[in-house]
Structure formats: structure tokens, C-alpha cells
Symmetry: C2
Subunit: 150 residues, 2 copies
Amino acid sequence: MTRVSWQAKQLTVGELSERSGVPASALRFYERQGLIHSHRTAGNQRRYTRDSLRRVAFIRVSQRVGIPLAMIREVLGLLPEERTPTRADWARVSQCWRDDLNTRIKQLEQLRDRLTDCIGCGCLSIDICTLANPEDALGEQGPGPRRLKA
Amino acid sequence: MTRVSWQAKQLTVGELSERSGVPASALRFYERQGLIHSHRTAGNQRRYTRDSLRRVAFIRVSQRVGIPLAMIREVLGLLPEERTPTRADWARVSQCWRDDLNTRIKQLEQLRDRLTDCIGCGCLSIDICTLANPEDALGEQGPGPRRLKA
DNA sequence: CCCGGACCTGAACCAATGTTCAGGTCCGGG
DNA sequence: CCCGGACCTGAACATTGGTTCAGGTCCGGG
């Protein structure tokens, strides 16, 4: 049981892909975007440490919440470099989404509660209705697709 | 007060844009995509009837909920042709999003409740965690950007 | 009747999020 | 040592939801 010989198995792209359910092309893309990292074998092939699994999982979960990759990259940047992140690290990072998540939930609930009223009652005539004029809450953010704003 | 002379004022793109807060370019885009309709003056300029305001409002609200335009177009197709939609019509149509909205809210709540647990406790090691493997609920839908799935 | 501002069209472009492909390299089991 | 499957890169393409631009037309107030 020598320390050195027992290295946690490094994963190839294919393996990480299969384990995470994320296509290898997407993994390479995430890497180009700086969301995950790998080191290379002598033959220039990617090898991932096991915590990449958790990073990838975090990415997908975050995307489900509707967070764009750029923002995910930012909070992933909060994880310690050169040290395998602990549970506390992950908890701290995932805490980042809680407020966002709560805000989103509240917005959707408001929307649900007002949708029928608003559209049904005729106040969806713009100008008045906060549903149709949410600029205050959302603000302009420049061009490009906007996922949860619009 | 002749019937014919009193026509509800038709809106130009610029007016509809200003009233709705939606850029004229977007309105033309929606029209190309079949989400709104106009008729033309002799000089080929667009004129919108007033209920376009409500259509546009509905589109924006729906987008806020995260519905893609294609789906919005479909439910707008449920509105009566050649008759100004009544409140009941609108209510019926907006009913379409309620289930979706409730589902989304439930998913987000679940996500919020499990996020810290899951990531914090280490079960975000994929394979096991329903957060990271939501295929059952979401399913594959082909290529391209996926907004709320991912 | 004229002029400037609003409007028209089609094409090109943007950004996010990936996928696909061509052409070439690596690696491990027999 | 060899072969087929996995991997590499860079470029091109896809999709959603628009914006911007060039080049030309319309329309209404003076």
C-alpha cells in the first residue's frame, strides 16, 4: 500500500463523459471556456481528476437553474486552486445560487398569481401592468439572447 | 358618429414599439415568425390593430416565464382568427402556462431545498443524485441551446 | 410641393451553447 | 509490433432571439 502507487484513477474524456452524462464535445467546450481543467498525458490526451465529476455536476445543475456559463465560471473561480475542494467549499459556492433561486421562485409565483388575473381582466394592456412592464426589476442588459429576463 | 369614420386608431410599428416597449426590429421579427400580424397601407407600411398590444404583452410575459417563441406561437394559434379575442379567449390561452409555471416552481423549490444538502453532503457525485441526473424528468430534446433544461 | 423623419426589405452580424466533421495522433490488447 | 477504437485540433455549422446596416420608399406638416 504505497502512497504513490495508489493514485485515484484519472478519467479520460470518454469516461468523464459517460459518468457525467455530458457529451465529450461539451466537456471540451467547458474546458475551452475555463469551467473545468485537465492535465495532459505525454501523448496530449486529457486526464481529469475525480473532482471534475463534481464540477461538471455543479455546472449542469447550475444551468438547470438558468445560470449562464459565464456566471458559473465566476463562482467556480471561488473554489480553491491547487487543493481539492472540501464540502465546505462546495457549500459556500452553491450558496451563491440560493438567493438567485429564491428570487426566481418569487418572481414565478408572482407571475403565476397574476397571470390569469392580469390577462383575464384586461389589464395586460401594457402601460399599467407590472407583468408587462417589468423594466424596474429587470433592466436592460444589452443584446443577445436573454434567458430568464426577456 | 358614423360607424365607419370611427375606427379604432391603427398603430404604426413605431407606435406599437413605444407603447409596448419592444424594439421595432423585434416586432418585425415576431411578425416574420408569425407571432403577430399586421395589414399594410397602400404604401406598404404596417398597421396594427389595438389587440396587437395585448399579443405583444402576452409574448413578453411568456418569454419571462421562459417559454420559447415557437411554443408561444402555438398557443397564440389557439386564439380565434378574424375575431377580436375576448377576455375568455385570453384566459384560456394563458391557462396554458399555468401548469408549466407550477412545474417550474416546484422544480426550483426542489432544487433550492436539495442544493446545499446535495452539494454539501457529497452526493453530487453524479450517478446517484437526482439533481445531477434529471433525465427522467427532462429527456433529450435534440441539439441547440436549451434554456431551462440543460 | 418638398423635406426630414419614419418606414420598408434583405442580408449580415451578434452572443450563448454546443455539435459535427475532416484529417491526423495515441494507446492498449492480442 | 499492429490495428482499431479513443482521442486530438480547428473550423464550420446549428439554433434562438434578435440588432444593425445599406439602400431605397412613404407620409405628413409647413
